[in-house]
Amino acid sequence: MLELNYDTVIIGAGPAGIAAAIKANELGLKAVLVENRDLLGGIPLQCVHPGFGLHYFKEDLTGTEFIYRFFDKMEKLGVEHLLKSHVHSIEPVAHNEKVVNVITPQGVMRLKTKTLIYTAGARERHVFEINIVGDRPAGIYTAGEAQTLMDIYGIIPGKEIVIIGSGDVGLIMARRFALEGAKVKAVIELMHYPGGLMRNIVQCLQDYDIPLYLGHVATKVVGKKRVEKVVVAKVDEKLKPIEGTELEIPCDTIVLAAGLVPNLDMLEKIGLVIDPYTRGPVVNEFLETNIPGVFVAGNALVINDLVDYVVEQGELAAEGARYFIENDGIPTTDWKPVIRGRNIRFIVPHYVSGKRDVILYARVRQPEKNVVVAIPEVGWKMKQFNVRPAEMIRVKLTKRLLERAASVEKISMEVIPGE
């Protein structure tokens, strides 16, 4: 069996993993990037729509254009990577030694490494997770599956489509189907407000006259061999289906865009601590988890709507890995917990030292207008006309600002009604 030694092994070659691998190389670490599929690039490789890179490149690129810029950089630096290589398991040997078992077309490899950067993205929620009963005929796809078929292989999976979930993923898929000449019969959303950005409601649904059913739930799939229809009902305030409000929507294809969950099984097996609100790991300001030397970035850390933040997290994890190696572990310090205040659903990272700049990522629980987002311990405030769960809040706190909180034991973020 082949055994190799590394400073860091990066698992998953989406934007987070690629950015981490590039940064690790630039920092002089011996790094290898391991990818399951036969293609690098993760989700952006199959995103043909614009909306990528506005922050990172100050340009509006398609997902494909965005990720190829990173491929070019990888090639220039000669970043070592393995394709069609499935990470099977991780063995924690010591605080500064992990073994990553990888099944590759050349056989099983054992990668011995000082640190690990986990960037395997998120998995899509499937039918059985969202309480849809009934038949299980052909014609049910997750948004990601449908996107791979259409935008990598050029196959349109159906003619009459119902999309479940009105997050940006669902809205963007609705437009893709409509553009390719399929009839999108409905987008179904459980909540009483849309999950995605208003601009996507306009340019993905309204442009193509696609009906959006807010406060509705798909309760049942009907179909013998292929999907024939879906039954939809209104929900009450507690989001429970109201009897007698059912309607049937004939269709041949159902696309599930019902949310993403960080894909962490492999790390949970070795004792990863999970934040119930992000469903990702609990991390410090280097994105290091409770398992020393294991860093997590991208959608495996927290579901991101902007790839720019994913890249930023990948780069930070690589810097964390270098700091870890230089100091034989992240030096212990008085970590301050970061607390969720009013109308904050989650906030990442969970611990900060106050000794360096940090970037906080948060989402609100509920949409609210005319508010102030505040971190009272450091006297930071930002007026916002609109906060919505669909838009991640990103705040950079400088070391200087954090020094104001030197004597307090925690910092917190809250959303307060404005004047």
Partner: protein, 122 residues
Amino acid sequence: MSERELTCIICPASCTLKVRTEPGGSLKVEGALCPRGVDYAKQEVTDPRRIVMSVVKVVGGDLPTVSVKTNKPVPKKCIQEVMKATASIELKAPVEIGQAVIKDICGADVVATRRVKKVNSI
């Protein structure tokens, strides 16, 4: 024309814009947080345009399709024309990012947004 309410799609702030035709015929836009919103609203009520994206079949490449987009927004009423054109062509690998795969359609070019490398078939 009276008053129309729009949502600005230029950036995620999603401002609600009100567009009104003044007696002289000029357009007045309210609610925009920045000048880009004003331009968007004027364009949207006179000649709405969108970027169109799709995929085009490729033979002899490491991927079976190449993703494409119009390099400029095209009039909304032209979207179907662009889609028909992209569906009716087939390219030969290699294809480079930025390469025009259809020239001058509805005032724009359709350009490749993914790279497809040539593979030697056996």
